[in-house]
Amino acid sequence: MNFNLLYHIGRYVMLLRQAFSKPENFSMYWKETMRQMEDIGIGSLVIVALISVFMGAVAAVQFSYQLDGTLVPQYYIGYIVRDLAIIESAPTITCLVLAGKVGSNLAAELGTMRQKEHIDAMELMGVNTAAYLILPKLIAALVMIPLLVTISAYVAIIGGYLATVPTGSLSSDDYERGLRAFFQPHNVTMMYVKAIVFSIILTTVPIFQGYYVKGGNIELGKASTNAVVFSNILILLSDYLIAVLLTG
């Protein structure tokens, strides 16, 4: 069991090492990076926005309910929604969702390419497949996912506003006052650190699962499931570690 784990970690590290090689042709890598940016970024925009607006709305409604009748000022709702979005929901929940959407997609894409001998065909042409198939996806994710996380944070705050102000739970001024209260720029740094670390996890783990898939459709399905499960576990684990390291 332990030997197996070490074997897979070793293969994962070696695959990533191969990926960081000099590209055979920059324009082809650039073209592929643009295609991946569209897939990962534009393709995930709607689902990220949808989830974020509800996350913000639910947080606002829940805290409004919790704070009702207490001595805590109502404008704290804006402050809590903002910090919750920046510190946790925008980077973590968004990336967990993206691990499901983008991660399973990447594992399935690479796995199908392996099964249909596309990867072998590229290798035989002399292409460094580890680099060509991984690097553009990783760069695309590192650019697009922090952007999606930023959008998610804004949309969650808007969601909180929509759930409280039009319903009369809170005045617009109070919500805005909450948003401006106790702001710590360090939290934004933490959000981007998380976004970058999670981007690496949610692309490289599924790519590893898909790249080395063996067998038929059942194995491909398993690889896709493993990609999502392992990515989610690693995201949550690193979320904890980042929280410990950056708040200590």
């Binding site: 042709n25 082809m28 249909k116 001998e117 065909a121 035989l124 042409m125 002399g126 460094n128």
Partner: protein, 254 residues
């Protein structure tokens, strides 16, 4: 010239190739034949370096392939073209992009020059007017032609074909065979084909190697197949009573 020297391949306890040594004739069509499970595909994958042998060597001229580093292997591979069993065309790319892919990756030609070369290759394989179609929009035979066009676009010295006729009707299979042979002779390529199609054996087999249970059992030309007294080979090629009668009649007629 490609030469395999004492190739052994084991998967756990199972020995798939048991010391196969073979030399392929330059500028000719070399066929590797054998029953399913004889080790043909594994042998072909070892020849092109997609799989490492447990023991043995593969020589490309005087170069020991498996002693090379990754960069050197990539240089050798620029001289290799391969047609895969399922064609292995990239689904997200159109025909023109599939054929142009090696040029896009490795040549410094302008787009116009690359497109000219693609046009020439597609014309050479008898496929015009399908440039902007996706692989899913063309037939299996057309996909094989695109696969051949992509394999020859870099003007390789060696052409490998894995079951080029699988999934094709007999007439299309014959056309693909003829095409591969013409290309081999026209461009003086060394072609190695992995097949169990008997039409291919009798039509284009300049040099035929018969693998049986992981061992090279017979080697010769298509003209020598009929007269060979190797029982395993005869049992494989003339498996049906109809083919056996045909062989007897052919031998009688000399």
């Amino acid at each position: 010239m490609i030469r395999a020297e004492n190739i052994v391949k084991r998967f756990d306890e199972q020995e798939v190739l048991k010391g196969v040594s073979m030399e392929f004739i330059p500028g000719k069509t070399n066929l590797i034949i054998g029953q399913s499970g004889a080790g043909k595909t594994v042998f072909l994958k070892i020849l092109v370096g997609l799989m490492e042998p447990t023991a043995g060597r593969v020589w490309y001229d005087s170069i020991d392939f498996f002693s090379l580093n990754k960069k050197q292997i990539r240089e050798i591979r620029l001289k290799v073209g391969m047609l895969f069993q399922g064609s292995a065309l990239f689904d997200s790319m159109r025909v023109i992009e599939n054929v142009r892919f090696p040029l896009d990756m490795f040549s410094n030609l302008t787009l116009a020059e690359k497109n000219l070369r693609v046009d020439w290759c597609l014309e050479r394989v008898g496929l015009t007017g399908a440039h902007y179609k996706y692989p899913s929009e063309i037939s299996g035979g057309m996909q094989k032609r695109v696969g051949i066009a992509r394999a020859i676009v870099m003007e390789p010295k060696y052409l490998f074909c894995d079951e080029p006729n699988s999934g094709l009707d007999p007439r299309t299979a014959l056309l693909i065979d003829e095409l591969i042979q013409d290309i081999t002779y026209d461009y003086k390529m060394t072609t190695i084909i992995n097949t169990h199609d008997m039409n291919s054996v009798m039509e284009i087999g300049d040099n035929i190697a018969y693998l049986h249970q992981g061992q090279l059992t017979w080697q010769g030309s298509k003209d020598e197949v009929l007269s060979s007294d190797n029982e395993l080979l005869q049992g494989f090629i003339f498996a049906s009573p109809f083919l056996q009668r045909l062989r007897t009649a052919a031998l009688k007629q000399g």
